[in-house]
Structure formats: structure tokens, C-alpha cells
Subunit: 428 residues, 2 copies
């Protein structure tokens, strides 16, 4: 095992350059830990001449990542281009066909084509490793697939899009509306070119789908993730939730229930004093719950050059050490079809609505809830402007269907102004 | 790889029985994840006839764990007896000599004999895995050795003795003195037979020494860990620390400095709103800091049947999958001798003392601090009984040596009653 492990790195953006820097800075340490030197044979990116934060002149160059994947002097193909299709997919397939393991940070690629790629890789006897695809520097894929392998997993939860968490905590701290903070985040370069990937929950949904596949032994089913972004979260709800002891997070939840697999990526209330509630700014957190281990909480930087490159290198060192395992923790062919739960598990809900200031208005709302079979845990009515009064309700456990039913009944009462807001309270 | 992986489990206490239960409950899942069935061939414990919470009648029995380790039908020796010497060591050595990998929860064994055992295991071409030895169910050995393998580690910190954290948080919550809560913990069965292992910091010190070896590529050096227990922590200090925005934790800190390796297991103040400060009860937390990844925080149950057995099974599944790596993340022969730092890194300190109620007393203390080169960040003087006044001081960064110097100067002033208390504030 003293032959060097030779990397071909496709994509020299933030993560690619971060990876190059680690290889250059820590050659001796990596050789000691990996049991063999780790070197870069060649790289590929859109522009060869671009000014970069690392010297790549000593490496071979390929304009085409597919050619890079096929090079004889590349043992491991490191795919850091991104994009669910196109060159990233073609080059990953080429590497697998050439019998080479792949290390990737590409959550979209695996969320959409994970099953097909895993089957191809396992047929070729190589692995695809993707620690960097989920929650940046947090070694959560490893913790779930390996560390907790002795557990039947009960639930996986996570705040896995730092930009959304930044927006939500900044709204609360500065008392600013969503639109203002969204523009701030854009100006700071925190948003993807297509911001829907972030604020629409798609990026985080990709990550959740990968975690769910490992946790429950099911085929990746991103198309079965219930997706709701943070665009409709108002500063009012953030403030009122805080008054009731909660924070709003874009929370991913995956759990296997008697009704099937639940995968949700949506704004949820969590207790302000829970680890998830205390998470500020761009930091990520993943919570893993197993039948033996109980609850494990992992927290760290979810993006950025250093953290994501750290995850890439963890995978590279595993390959250097000869550690290999099925891509989703068991053979891809043995993964079960994910049967989505049509009804989500019951939970308490937060409701906010504005009532006309008329005698009996609150009674009508309470009656509508009762008719929908929903009982009230706590209620607050706030001081109000001349003709309307905001009301907050925390319900006991109920279902999303019953909440939707109650909201239709509210409309029939004629005392509710505008559309009521309902947000699930995740019990953490 | 369809031959079953056959375990021999020595020690059927809480962790041993927990491990048996997982193998029995999850046979199909373990086979799917490990790529081969995981079975138990034989077990060993002090008493064969003891009533146990799992049916072991289907397994072979050995009175002698050494004989168990040597059995032809045992592929992996699972050592869950405990004890740094005696049968645990003899049986581990026998397993290694027979060319069998060892999975152990035994922190004392590895803290005291890790180098010798690792060298023997590597010479025999087998691994020793010990996830269960540190922080129970938290996969921290894996996170540090594998997930963060691309990082130069800067610092490792941890609250890794649940009993101590239970005692400290219970003192604060209930306002009870140490002695009372200590007796409570004993009655609840939370304490080791020799409670010094817990409250003296020895158990947590063993764990810190193992983490430090992996983090810094140094030979395990438990004898170089500065140990201080929680016996001297008073309810007064817990309350005063809380007033100043801190909590007191038995905190392990290992860091490599220009002066050498620092390993401390001692009561420290940490900010009350930090993840470490918020840790309540018996839960454990480990903080890993790497040059690329930044800060990773891992939290979970640090002890108990399920969590510790989960860690054991994670190691077993790694072996079933054929993942092997050097015991401390690099070959034992390449580990450097740990050169202990003779001077600890500077930090702010918390000082509490009682002054005689005489004009100029505070000035004398302030002068003594200034003479020792220590500047004051914050100071509080409390309302007092007739003749004495408690004073709290938070210093700017200084060294333990300067603090000791200042305390000697305090004694010369004649205005300080009793022994001043000084506790390091760890900057987290």
C-alpha cells in the first residue's frame, strides 16, 4: 500500500480548490493517516486560465471531465462540479465504467440518480462516497452509515441549508422582513444562482432524501419529499413563535411509520431551548435517532471551502485505507422501494389568525377546532388595532389533514380575516 | 463474504447484554448492512447461572475469557469486561496472538496499554476498535479518526463523564451541596464501585488520552493528563459562575501547542449559552476542532446499555464490511512520543475569595493581581455578612502559573480569608 493514491479532481470552484489546498498543505499527514501518499494527477474545470487561490500548474489538465475520469494516472475521480446531469453525471459514469471509485459533493446528482449510479458502481466493484454532499463538514453520512449501523433508525432530522437558517435567524435578530433579509443574503453571495434551490428547500430536500435512503434502507426518493420553502415565513410568525417558546427552522424530517416513509422538508417550530432551536446563523445540525443509541446530535459548518473539502478528504482517506462499503449502507439492489406515507405523523400545530373584533369571534374559532377534532393546548390573544385581533393557538397533537379541515371551517365562520397560518411543531 | 462473522463476547454486564440483544433483535438488518450474517458463537462471564436480561443458552460458554478468545469458532473477540489489567488484558492479547480483531469498550485498558496492544495488533495484522470506550453512543472515534482525517486537529474538548455532569447540573438545579448530590448519585447507582474513577476525573481522563493520541499522532499518554476532579466544586462557585454567565463542567481539553501537548481534565467555566454550557444531566458532548472543518460538536448518551452496545456494533459492522485501519489512525510505530506542555495555554480565570471587611481590602487584592501581571476583566463584590465580603473576579487571559503567583500574593495581604478559589475559563 505504498503506491500513491492518485486523484483526478473535476471542478475547481470553492470546494475543488479547498481540496487541492489540503492535499498540498498536509501531504505528510495524509500519507501517515492514509497509509500511502495522496497526490493529484490531473484536474479539470471550465477555464484553465482563471486566477485561482492555489497553484495547479503541476497537475495534468483536461478540458473534459470525462477524459479526466478515464486517465490512466487517476485512481479516484473527485467530482466537485455540481449539477444533477450533464458533465457531472457523464464523468461519474465514465469513472465507474473505468472501475474507479468516485468521491463527490453532488447532492443533486445522487438525489436524482443515486439508485442507478449505485447499482452501476456496485456492479463495477467500486464505491461512490458523498460525505461532502450532506451537511458540509459534519461527518453525518459516516455516523449514520457506519457508526450507527447497529441501530434501527427511528427518525432523522436536520437543519441542512445554512442560507435558510441564516435568513431565519437574521429576521429574528434584526426584526427584518423576509424580503429584506433575502436581498441581504443575495448581496452577500449566500444564495445559489437559482435561489429556489435554497429558500425553496430543494437543496436541503436532496440531502434529506440521501439520509433517508441510508437510514431506512429504501431507494433514494427525492420526488417523494414533501417540500415547502421559507418564502412565506413572516416576521410576525417568527416573533409570535418566540413568544410561545419556539423558533422556526427549515427542518428536514424523515421517519418510517406504520403508514410508510415520511420525508418532509418544511418550516417547523422547534422548542427554543432545544439544540435545533438554539442553532444560529449558517451552522448545520443533524439529529439521528436510533433504537439503541437514542438521540445523537451533530453540529458544524454546513458549507464553505474548508468544511466541505474536509468531508471530501475524509472520503479520500477511507479509500486510501481500503475501506469500502455499499453506497447507501447496503447493496443497492437490496434497497426497498420507498412507500410514502400518505398521512404524516400527528404533531402539535401553531396557528395564527386575525379575528374581527366582534363578540363571540373567538368562540366560533374554538368551536371550529373542536368540530375538526382538534384540542387546544395554549392560546394567546394579543392587544389589537381598532377592528381586528391577532390570535395564536398551539394545538395538541393532530394531523395536517385535520388542520386543513379546521382552516376550511374557519372560513365558514366569517370571523377570520385573511388566511390563517398553520405551522407544524416538530417534537424534538 | 457470505460466511457469518462469529463473535465471542467476554463480559455480560450492561454492555455485553446490550450487544447480545442487538444481535438477536436485528439479525436480518445486520446481515444486510454488514454484507454477511453476524452471529454469536460463545460468551464468557463471571457467573454462568446469573439471571440475565437476554437468553444466552444458545451460545457456547467459557469460564475463561482467554479460552474464548482462542476458540476456533470466534472471528472477532468482543471485550466488555473492563479493567486495565487482569483477564481483559490477557484475553485481548490472546485474541491478537490468534490473529483476531478485537472490539472493546475498555478505556482503562487502552489508556494504560494502548501503545503495546496496538503494536502487537498491527504486527499480527488485526485491528482493535474501541468506539464504545469513549463517549458511549457518540461515534466520536470514527468522526475523529476517519471523518476528520484531512484535518490538522487544533483542539479536542469533551464532557465525557455523565455522572460528573449529572452531579454538577443537579447541584445547580436543586441548589444542593456536592456531598448531598454525590450521595444521591451513589444511591441511584450512577457511581463506579470506586467513585474516584468518576468524580476524580480518571475515567474521563482515560477517554481524553485516547482522543489526544488520534488527534495529534502521539502515543497514548494518560500519565501526562493533568487530572483534577469535581470534589472541590462548591454550590457557591456554581451559583457565582452562573451569575457571571458561565457554567462549571468537568471538561477535558487536549491541544497541541508550540510548548507541547496539553491534556487537561479539570473543572472549567464555559459560557452558559455555548453548546458545552447548555449540556444538562448525563449527556456527553465532544467538540473537535480542525484546521479545515472548523468546529464540530457531537452530542449524545455517554453511557448505558443501548448507546454503548450501539458503539460496539458499529465497530463489528465495520469489521464485517472489511474496513480496517490503524488503531490510532496511523501505524502505532509512527506515533510520536507525547511531549507534555509544561505551561498551559493562557486563558481567563474565575477567582472567588472572601475579604475582610476593612477599608482598602479590595485595593490590596487588585494590587496583588497587578503585581502578578494579571488584568481584571470583570469584578463583583457581593453584599456580605458582618465581617467579610465575597468578591468575584474574571481576569483577562493569563497563565495558571501567574494565577498561582497572585494567590500567594493574596495571602501576604492579610485581607483574604481562607483559600481563594481559581477556576480556568475555557474559551469555547
Amino acid at each position: 500500500m505504498t503506491d500513491p493514491l492518485r486523484l483526478g479532481i473535476a471542478g475547481l470552484g470553492t470546494v475543488g480548490i479547498g481540496t487541492v489546498k489540503i492535499v498540498q498543505r498536509h501531504a505528510e499527514m495524509l500519507a501517515r493517516r492514509g497509509g500511502r501518499p495522496v497526490v493529484i494527477s490531473a484536474v479539470s474545470a471550465r477555464s484553465r486560465s482563471k486566477n485561482r487561490d492555489a497553484d495547479i500548474s503541476g497537475y495534468g489538465w483536461e478540458d473534459d471531465p470525462v477524459a479526466l475520469a478515464k486517465r490512466d494516472d487517476v485512481d479516484v475521480f473527485v467530482e466537485l462540479m455540481g449539477g444533477s446531469d450533464g458533465p457531472a453525471k457523464a464523468a461519474t459514469e465514465a469513472a465507474i465504467a473505468a472501475g474507479k471509485p468516485v468521491v463527490t459533493a453532488n447532492k443533486a446528482l445522487l438525489a436524482l440518480h443515486g439508485q442507478e449510479l449505485a447499482e452501476a458502481a456496485e456492479a463495477a466493484g467500486v464505491s461512490i462516497r458523498f460525505e461532502a454532499a450532506v451537511a458540509g463538514g459534519i461527518p453525518v453520512i459516516k455516523a449514520l452509515t457506519e457508526g450507527l449501523a447497529g441501530n434501527a433508525i427511528r427518525r432523522v432530522m436536520g437543519v441542512m441549508n445554512g442560507t435558510c437558517n441564516y435568513i431565519l435567524t437574521r429576521m429574528e435578530d434584526a426584526g427584518l422582513p423576509y424580503e429584506t433579509v433575502f436581498e441581504e443574503a443575495r448581496a452577500l453571495g449566500y444564495l445559489e444562482a437559482d435561489p429556489t434551490l435554497d429558500v425553496g428547500g430543494i437543496d436541503a430536500g436532496h440531502k434529506l432524501a440521501l439520509l433517508a435512503a441510508i437510514a431506512f434502507g429504501t431507494r433514494v426518493a427525492f420526488d417523494k419529499v414533501e417540500l415547502e420553502g421559507i418564502e412565506r415565513i413572516s416576521i410576525d410568525d417568527i416573533r409570535h413563535a418566540a413568544d410561545m417558546g419556539y423558533r422556526i427552522k427549515l427542518l428536514g424530517v424523515a421517519q418510517m411509520t406504520g403508514r410508510g416513509l415520511e420525508q418532509r422538508m418544511s418550516p417547523c417550530l422547534v422548542p427554543a431551548d432545544s439544540p435545533l432551536g438554539q442553532l444560529q446563523g449558517g451552522t448545520n445540525m443533524v439529529v439521528l435517532e436510533g433504537d439503541s443509541v437514542g438521540q445523537i446530535v451533530l453540529r458544524g459548518a454546513g458549507a464553505g471551502e474548508g468544511p466541505t473539502a474536509s468531508a471530501v478528504m475524509g472520503d479520500v482517506i477511507d479509500i486510501a485505507r481500503g475501506c469500502d462499503l455499499p453506497i447507501f449502507g447496503q447493496l443497492a439492489a437490496s434497497l426497498a422501494e420507498a412507500v410514502p406515507a400518505l398521512v404524516t405523523a400527528p404533531a402539535p400545530y401553531y396557528l395564527r389568525m386575525t379575528l374581527v373584533d366582534k363578540p363571540g369571534a373567538l368562540a366560533k374559532v374554538a368551536t371550529a377546532l373542536g368540530d375538526a377534532g382538534i384540542s387546544i393546548d395554549r392560546m394567546r390573544q394579543y392587544g389589537h388595532s381598532d377592528t381586528s385581533a391577532p390570535v395564536l393557538i398551539v394545538t395538541h397533537r393532530t394531523t395536517g389533514a385535520d388542520i386543513a379541515h379546521a382552516i376550511r371551517r374557519f372560513e365558514e365562520t366569517g370571523v377570520v380575516l385573511g388566511a390563517p397560518v398553520a405551522i407544524r411543531i416538530e417534537e424534538v
